[in-house]
């Protein structure tokens, strides 16, 4: 990390830190899942695409974890936060921690997440927190590539063969119960919205809905039934079992050799 970046300049702001953790951990965990495709992509170009998406996620997580270490008053750097927290301390949405499944599931998840992240960071560019606004301005054009790539695959697979259509429809149906959490309003959020730090999730959801409706329609995919029970828990540390296994793999080297460098 850059010299002096861990120096504390402001008192702890736990509500804002909690929000930054939700963002940072979601990018970090999604990036780890995508990195599992390295060397396994269906074709070389897609292997490169998935690992580029993973790298972007890691970059976004790094920036946000640095902000988190300042906001929570601990001065922890991105490595300490990524490698030395337990699963219950992670705040990522449940959507991103689930195993990849097949390529259809992997791409459908990137699509659902990017369709949320793009309008979110579009709006976070106007955050009253200058550092978060700068990060959002940086991330936004990068996330556009994520949505573009995933949505193109949605059209290819959804409007492709019977088999690709069936698999992608199954993927959308399987991920759907996890999408409500993207727009949940948590107890600390109204005050953050009031301070102009974050947008109201309903404003992000409106843009997400428009993208989902358009792409599912173009891809001949059915939208899952309305009113489905939505799973909640990641942002308050209630995760599914799978996160522990993911973190074990992600954290093993750093924990086995603390402070190691190469």
């Amino acid at each position: 990390m850059p010299d002096g970046a861990s120096q504390l300049t402001t008192p702890a702001d736990f509500a804002f830190a909690g929000y930054l953790a939700r963002l940072a951990d979601s990018h970090l965990v999604l990036g780890h899942r995508l990195s599992e495709w390295c060397g396994h992509g269906p074709v070389l170009e897609e292997d490169l695409a998935l690992t580029n998406l993973a790298l972007d996620c890691l970059g976004h997580a790094t920036v946000l974890l640095r902000l988190l270490g300042q906001a929570d008053g601990t001065g922890r750097d991105e490595d300490q936060l990524a490698y030395f927290r337990e699963a219950v301390e992670f705040r990522n949405v449940l959507l991103v921690e689930q195993p990849n499944g097949d390529f259809a599931r992997t791409i459908a998840r990137v699509f659902l997440f990017a369709a949320y992240a793009l309008p979110l960071y579009e709006q976070l560019q106007r955050s009253t927190d200058a550092a978060l606004a700068a990060a959002a301005t940086k991330f936004h054009p990068e996330l556009r590539y994520h949505l573009r790539h995933a949505a193109r695959w949605m059209l290819i697979l959804g409007d492709g063969t019977d088999e690709s259509h069936r698999r992608l429809q199954e993927a959308i149906d399987a991920w759907w119960p996890y999408t409500g959490e993207l727009f949940a309003l948590w107890p600390d959020d109204p005050a953050l919205i009031e301070r102009g730090l974050i947008p109201h999730p309903d404003r992000v959801r409106a843009a997400w809905e428009a993208t989902i409706t358009e792409v599912l329609g173009q891809a001949r995919l059915a939208r899952p039934v309305a009113g489905m029970h939505m799973l909640l828990g990641g942002p308050i540390g209630r995760h599914t079992e799978t996160l522990g296994y993911l973190l074990a793999e992600m954290q093993i080297v750093a924990r086995s050799f603390p402070g190691a460098s190469w």
Binding site: A49, D56, C57, G59, H60, T62, T137, R144, Y145, L147
Partner: protein, 168 residues
């Protein structure tokens, strides 16, 4: 050799190459945001092309090492995100160097954004001129390549695949 002025510091920084694109210096790339010299020391701010650019740590180290070797002390190199880099920060000279190196340089961002309409996934890919034979008859292979800042293309005229520094 005592080096003490801001101009001296810029001259040193202008010798630092992008480790992943050694045809360009970091000044060519447009990623040096500020250079402040005071009391024999220097503080430099650089910004990534793409957030996840894996070359940033190496660049930070190279800048610091060269400035120390030139006599500056203390040396601080920090990474900042604002103002955010876009390909419009790359100089015309840098674009020419890139093309000579075999990588298609980025176009102007304003032209790209003006050409955008509707949903990103329905956009037609703009043909990037081939850096080898200058043909405009090229096709996009992938938005993603060997580094975050490059995309992959193929020239139908000379049949070469080539990389393009993304207009971004």
């Amino acid at each position: 050799m005592p080096a003490r002025t801001t101009e001296d510091a810029w001259a040193v920084i202008a010798t630092v190459l992008d480790p992943e694109l050694p045809a360009l210096t970091i000044v060519d790339l447009g990623i040096v945001r500020s250079v402040a010299v005071a009391d024999g020391g220097v503080r430099v701010a650089i910004t990534p092309t793409f957030t996840a650019c894996p070359a940033m740590r190496v660049i930070e180290r190279d800048v610091a090492a060269k400035l120390r070797a030139a006599g500056f002390s203390p040396v601080t190199v920090e990474t900042v995100l604002a103002p955010a880099w876009t390909s419009d920060w790359m100089s015309d000279a840098a674009r020419a160097k890139l093309k000579a190196y075999g990588i298609a340089p980025p176009g102007r961002l304003s032209a790209l954004t003006a050409s955008r309409s509707g949903s990103p996934w329905l956009e037609r890919d703009r043909a990037v001129p081939c850096p080898r034979c200058d043909s405009a008859d090229t096709e996009s292979i992938s938005d993603f390549g060997s580094t975050p800042c490059k995309s992959l293309h193929r020239c139908r005229a000379c049949a070469e695949t080539f990389e393009h520094f993304k207009c971004h």
